[in-house]
Amino acid sequence: MVAGQSGSGEDPWTRGAAGVTVAKTLTRSQPDPLRRRAAAVRWAILVGLVVVLEAATRTGLVDRTLMVPPSEILARLISIVPTGQFGADAVRTITTILVAFAVGLVLGIPLGVVLWRIPAAGRILEPFIVTGYAMPTLLFYPVLLAVMGLNAGPIILIAASMSLVPIALTTMVALNSIKPILHKLANSVNASPSQYYVKVLLPAATPLVFPGVKLGFIYAVIGTVAMEFILAAQGIGFRAGFYYRELNTADMWAYIAVVVVLSVLVNSILTWLEKRIRRDML
């Protein structure tokens, strides 16, 4: 879309100097045919994978103790999902994820702001943060268990601790990359601090913070499911491990499938949101 070539009379600019005033078009990242071909190939690969697995499991190439045919997994899924037990597990897992994410957000963003305002704090704490990130916080589970009891509490806290790290770091980086000229502008129009935060900082930072928030949510999912798998007595993650111990491969795979679908769904929705935000705000 090229601007100004309708040549309105009042604007002397658009008449002659088209080269000077042509508005930039928003560029697309890749040519469309390439992306469509790539998508086709991608689907082909995924479908092909399912077909190969189906064949391998049916012919006994892959042992039943290892994996059951995808068609059987689907059948198990269909019969499991309507059950009360599944409902209870699903509710438990999803609530845990949401709460863990909320806690991660509520702790992570202020932490990011603090790290931004006091750069020294970030430098000094960096080794601790990195070490903490490498330590499975699950090791503190016994303490949390004793303090909070055998419920979702310890899991929420552990998942939240995984979630808040990318959120805090991204917030810090985002705030750091806001052009200083915008601060000068706000000063020159005599904006109050709260006006600056709400009208300038927040909208400028949001598209940059969102990728971290997305990552935080993903870690909330991963943390919750992983912790449920090892430690809990309820929840989708737990159920997968449970069926493994019961040597019920089919149902175990059904729950693995649930986890996969859940994670991929969450990721897709968040990626779509991210693109929307970039388009509208960046």
Partner: protein, 265 residues
Amino acid sequence: MRTATLPLFPRTTGRTKTRNPGTVTDNLWRAAVMVALLALWAALSVLTDLVASPAASFTALVELFADGSIYRHLNATLQAVLIGFLIAAAAGFPLGYAIGRSKFLGAVFDPIVAGAFAIPRVIFFPILLQVFGVGVGAQSAMAALAAVFPIMVSTTAGVRAINPLLPKLARSLNLSPLQTVAKIYVPAMAPSLMVGIRIGFSIAFINVIIAEFFAARAGLGLLTLRAYGQLDLPAMYGIIVLLALIALAGNLALWAAERRLSRKA
């Protein structure tokens, strides 16, 4: 410009200026933070029976080393981390490079990699147990499965971030493909690779411990669980400290390597 949405520490990807983690005042502050943490720990241990005191924990840890019982587990864990990490690197670097170099492969696989990253890989551990049986093999496989992602993603990002003039330069100098990769691409990608390696190491470490919690014959994770089961809290906390030290040591070593590499580059 379409870059892979890196599901990693945003700050440290691509254009990392290696930070120098060692000015004197900074280290003094860090020492202060450590002292504060130890004090907090000690206070907690007084307040509740569930937390063993720092002193008791350190003593227990030393005892474990003294009577040699820890070495079997230490070896198992470190072996699994190392093997898993090496496999992840062996697979991740070439794959990441291929995806990064080819626009088409990138378009095909970026969503798959991003989607796969979102899946808790721990859920596949039972399968690995079936294939490898209980032992270091299964833990290594778990670590490899998890660590391959950050390595792949950061390699892809590193390749994509290479200044497009560099390939032209290589051609104008008539370098062979091997020379091009070795002398121009690798140094250009080194910072990104190092970040991927550092994160890959951390993730391998975490996943080994988690796997050991679920099922293992030996390993520090298993030892922790056992100590907890026997209510030997000082030992449990002692091992946790050991794990923290290993994580810290590994990261510092890789950090130092990162710095030296970028100084040469």
